[in-house]
């Protein structure tokens, strides 16, 4: 029989059961999380900040609700951390940027309200690449996070703090945002489940915008079941986000047990070529063999425009970013320079002082591809190639239910290894960005470890608004393997 994991490594499902029978109080659990956070943070740096008194007050309120027989919902008393791009009223909201170093959010994101309605205890502001631009957290103005499995390595990015906090046991679940792989890649590098939902399933109201046609909020969790619980708490139409969809929502957690295969699974051959680490490739092949052994039909398919995903992404994402980040002008909020001579000077110097290198690079690239004379050649062409990329996926779904790929071509790399070469960093996202361009749901789940003990992630890509099937497919694999019962020694 397995020994129970320490409290800080337990799942939402396990902790909820203990809370509901009074074996544990929300205050005790939150105290344990804060103690753990204080113990590991000097080494991990997953948090930009955390408000101990506020978290304990929320926990006490949760216990009071429970005593009164008015438990709020599926996350009652569960400490959940938020990436520092998701607004919580009265708390800092920095996007890990000097530009917003002193910004305090005047309102809640919709997902924040939904988590609160479900009873969650919001714990901490989690580090990320500045304005969610990056794949390693090294673009954070407040310093990188470390991977709990190897502190000399990156937890991935941009939602690296959300992954590192969960892997280190400083939260029970977390939220991140995923524009080109920013949930799935850090989940893979930290041995976690990370879900990027269908574009439009989760409200983006109160999420700091990077590339609005690609951004989507999603959960990090220890298990597929926990990810299903989190998704159920945050999904749904929101009139404050005009891109959010009116769609009927299943009970994602319950559906894990009712939706069973065998599924028809597609293996896109373009995702297994040059650049794929042999150990990652072998672990993914083993996972494919498992599904085959369960009676799933495995079919090789082609996504012929895969080689154009990276370029398409870096045109569309930077174009949208250059527009979205125009709001940071030093006038109404954010950093304002103290050395300006006139209004133009305020804009140019405030932005130069407030933004880091990667943000500047993307604003410049985005401005260039949108500028007069280049718009058709770059931006319009990229939008047309995006159509072809999306059609590739939709064609594949005529034949198969879901796709299996690696999440990241490589396991966690050393901090500093790629930070001088933007293009090398961008190549970390080659298996994840197509999903954002096509607006599809996808998740990463652990599928093994390298010889040196680094987690490996398996990506499952599903059909639009069919997260329940995607989660069930992942659950079937997870139940037959024990990867998520291993924890970093920290």
């Amino acid at each position: 029989m397995l020994m129970s994991a320490p409290l800080h490594f337990q799942t939402i499902a396990e902790l909820s059961a203990k809370l509901s029978v009074g074996q544990l109080s929300a205050v005790e659990l939150t105290q344990a999380m804060i103690a753990r956070t204080k113990a590991v943070e000097p080494r991990v740096h997953a948090f930009n900040s955390f408000d101990e008194a506020d978290a304990l007050a929320q926990a006490a309120a949760s216990d009071a609700r429970r005593r009164a027989g008015q438990s709020a919902g599926a996350l009652e008393g569960i400490p959940v951390g938020l990436k520092d791009v998701i607004a919580v009223a009265g708390q800092p909201l920095t996007a890990s940027s000097r530009m917003l170093a002193n910004f305090v959010s005047p309102y809640d994101a919709t997902v924040t309200q939904k988590l609160q309605s479900a009873g969650a205890v919001l714990h901490g502001r989690l580090n990320c690449d500045e304005f969610a631009m990056g794949s390693s957290t090294e673009n954070s103005a407040f310093g990188p996070s470390s991977n709990p499995w190897d502190l000399t390595r990156t937890p991935g990015g941009s939602s690296g703090g959300s992954a590192a906090a969960l892997a280190a046991g400083s939260a029970v679940a977390t939220l991140g945002s995923d524009t080109g792989g920013s949930i799935r890649q850090p989940a893979a590098l930290c041995g976690l489940v990370g879900l990027k939902p269908t574009y439009g399933l989760i409200s983006r109201y109160g999420l700091i915008a990077y590339a609005s046609s690609l951004d989507q909020i999603g959960p990090f969790a220890r298990t597929v079941e926990d990810a299903a619980i989190m998704l159920g708490a945050i999904a749904g139409h929101d009139p404050r986000d005009s891109t959010s969809f009116k769609t009927s929502l299943p009970d994602y957690r319950a559906e894990l047990k009712t939706r069973r295969g065998p599924w028809k699974l597609g293996i896109p051959k373009e995702y297994f070529g040059a650049g794929l680490d042999p150990e990652v490739g072998a672990a993914v092949e083993k996972a494919i063999s498992f599904y085959r052994s369960q009676g799933c039909e495995i079919r090789e398919i082609s996504l012929p425009h895969t080689q154009y995903c990276l370029d398409t992404y870096y045109i569309i994402a930077t174009a949208e970013a250059s527009s979205n980040l125009a709001r940071y002008d030093g006038i109404r909020y954010g950093h304002r320079t103290s050395s300006a001579k006139d209004l133009l000077d305020v804009y140019q110097k405030s932005r130069a002082e407030g933004f880091g290198d990667e943000v500047k690079r993307r604003i410049i690239l985005g401005t260039y591809v949108l500028s007069s004379g280049y718009y058709d050649a770059y931006y319009l062409r990229a939008q047309k190639v995006r159509t072809l990329i999306r059609q590739d996926f939709l064609n594949a779904y005529r034949e198969v239910d879901a796709l299996i790929t690696p999440t990241s071509p490589i396991p966690a790399f050393k901090l500093g290894e790629k930070s001088a070469d933007p293009l090398a960093m961008y190549l970390c996202d080659i298996y994840t960005i197509g999903v954002n361009l096509a607006g599809l749901p996808a998740l990463s789940l652990p599928c093994g470890f390298t010889q040196s003990g680094l987690p490996i992630g398996l990506q499952l890509i599903g059909q639009p608004f069919r997260e329940a099937d995607l989660l069930a497919t992942a659950h079937a694999y997870e139940q037959a393997h024990g990867w998520n019962t291993q924890f970093p020694s920290l």
Binding site: P106, D311, Q348, I364, K384, L423
Partner: protein, 96 residues
């Protein structure tokens, strides 16, 4: 498609409202040159007759009832302003 060498960093920095140092101009030009070099391969794709995709699931004409909703209080809206006075944001003089 244009050649990457055409990226006029002075002009683009001005459009971006970014005051770049000479060192940044040199470094960003080189880095963006290699990224634009990579992007050139999009010119090979045949996109004739293909409609552009702005959103994967476009929703058009999303209407809301025209009913006034409570908004942020003035003090909350101004709380993050770099400089404020009398319920207004203070900015540098723009007319002489």
């Amino acid at each position: 498609m244009s050649q990457p060498a055409e990226l006029n960093i002075e002009r683009i920095a001005e459009l971006s409202r970014l005051a770049l140092t000479p060192e940044e101009k040199t470094r960003f030009s080189a880095q963006l040159g290699s990224i634009l070099g990579h992007i050139e391969q999009l010119a090979k794709v045949d996109v004739s007759g293909i409609e552009p995709t702005a959103h994967a699931f476009p929703l058009n004409n999303v209407w809301a009832a025209d009913i006034a909703q409570p908004g942020l209080a003035v003090s909350a809206a101004l709380n993050n302003a770099p400089a404020q006075r009398d319920h207004m944001i203070v900015v540098p003089k723009v007319v002489d």
